[in-house]
């Protein structure tokens, strides 16, 4: 709208400047007077058009600066968000790596504790075997036979039962380890 106004004023100024001298006669007083009026009007139109054009140029400059500032803000915010997300990703990755090392430590600790337990279990089994062996030796010293010892320790009477066979196998194993 403003550009249209400027254009209209400029065209009017040019027309009021150029048309009257070539349309009106300077020998007729009224025509001469009208030429003067047209020139003054043309001058006013050109002056107003120049004023509006300068005002609009200033507004355009301001708008361009505003657009540039908005664009710079957008670029800045995008760059900031990209930087923040990158930092966040790095932190997460570092945490993950740290947790992996913790996991390794935990796995090692678990493996060590399992080894300890196994050794403990073996120790307990050996202790139980030793106790049984001592008991067998004591009974043998009293003059007990194999069947009576099995009955005394495992509570199983002589026969073909699987319990007796298992007890007999255990007895034999203990005696072999003892070297009897």
């Amino acid at each position: 709208m403003s550009l249209l106004k400027i254009s209209a004023l400029t065209v009017s100024g040019v027309t009021l400047w150029l048309a009257p001298p070539f349309v009106f006669s300077r020998k007729i007083p009224l025509h001469n007077f009208l030429q003067g009026v047209a020139l003054v009007s043309g001058f006013a139109c050109a002056f107003e058009a120049r004023r509006c054009a300068l005002k609009m140029a200033k507004t355009e400059e301001f708008e361009a600066m505003k657009d540039a500032a908005v664009a710079a803000d957008v670029v800045d915010s995008i760059a900031t968000s990209a930087y923040v997300s990158e930092q966040q990703r790095r932190n997460e990755a570092e945490l993950l790596i740290a947790s992996d090392s913790n996991r390794e430590l935990l796995e090692r600790a678990l493996a060590l504790s399992c080894e300890d337990e196994e050794a403990e279990n073996v120790q307990l089994a050996q202790n139980a075997d030793n106790e049984l062996r001592e008991r067998i030796l004591q009974l043998q010293a009293r003059g007990y036979g194999k069947a009576k010892i099995i009955l005394e320790i495992w509570g199983v009477t002589k026969g073909g039962s699987p319990k007796y066979k298992a007890a007999e196998a255990e007895y034999k194993r203990l005696m072999q380890e003892e070297g009897v």
């Binding site: 550009l3 400027i6 254009s7 400029t10 100024g13 040019v14 400047w17 150029l18 001298p21 070539f22 006669s25 300077r26 001469n32 030429q35 003067g36 020139l39 003054v40 043309g42 001058f43 050109a46 002056f47 058009a49 120049r50 054009a53 300068l54 609009m56 140029a57 355009e60």
Partner: protein, 89 residues
């Protein structure tokens, strides 16, 4: 675009002012002398400004190119304005 229009209107203002002075000069012989004196004064001022361009641009705070452009534009505008009034019927 708008700056170009503003510059064009500057030229137009000079030309119309010059034409108006010519129209005034056609009204009475004494006014003709007055207008001739004005144009002579303008010529002297333009020539002096052209010679003292460095001092004037420092005073006005504009570039040398812009100053010369304005000077030449003003002179051409004045000549065009006078030419239009001389060519009228």
């Amino acid at each position: 675009m708008t700056k170009a229009i503003a510059l064009g209107n500057n030229f137009l203002l000079t030309a119309i002012a010059s034409s108006f002075l010519c129209w005034l000069a056609s009204l009475h012989p004494s006014l003709l002398l007055f207008v001739q004196a004005l144009f002579a004064l303008k010529l002297i001022i333009s020539a002096t400004a052209w010679l003292l361009d460095d001092a004037i641009i420092a005073l006005l705070g504009i570039g040398l190119l812009q100053f010369r452009f304005r000077l030449i534009g003003g002179t051409i505008g004045a000549l065009v304005g006078v030419g239009v009034m001389l060519c009228r019927s």
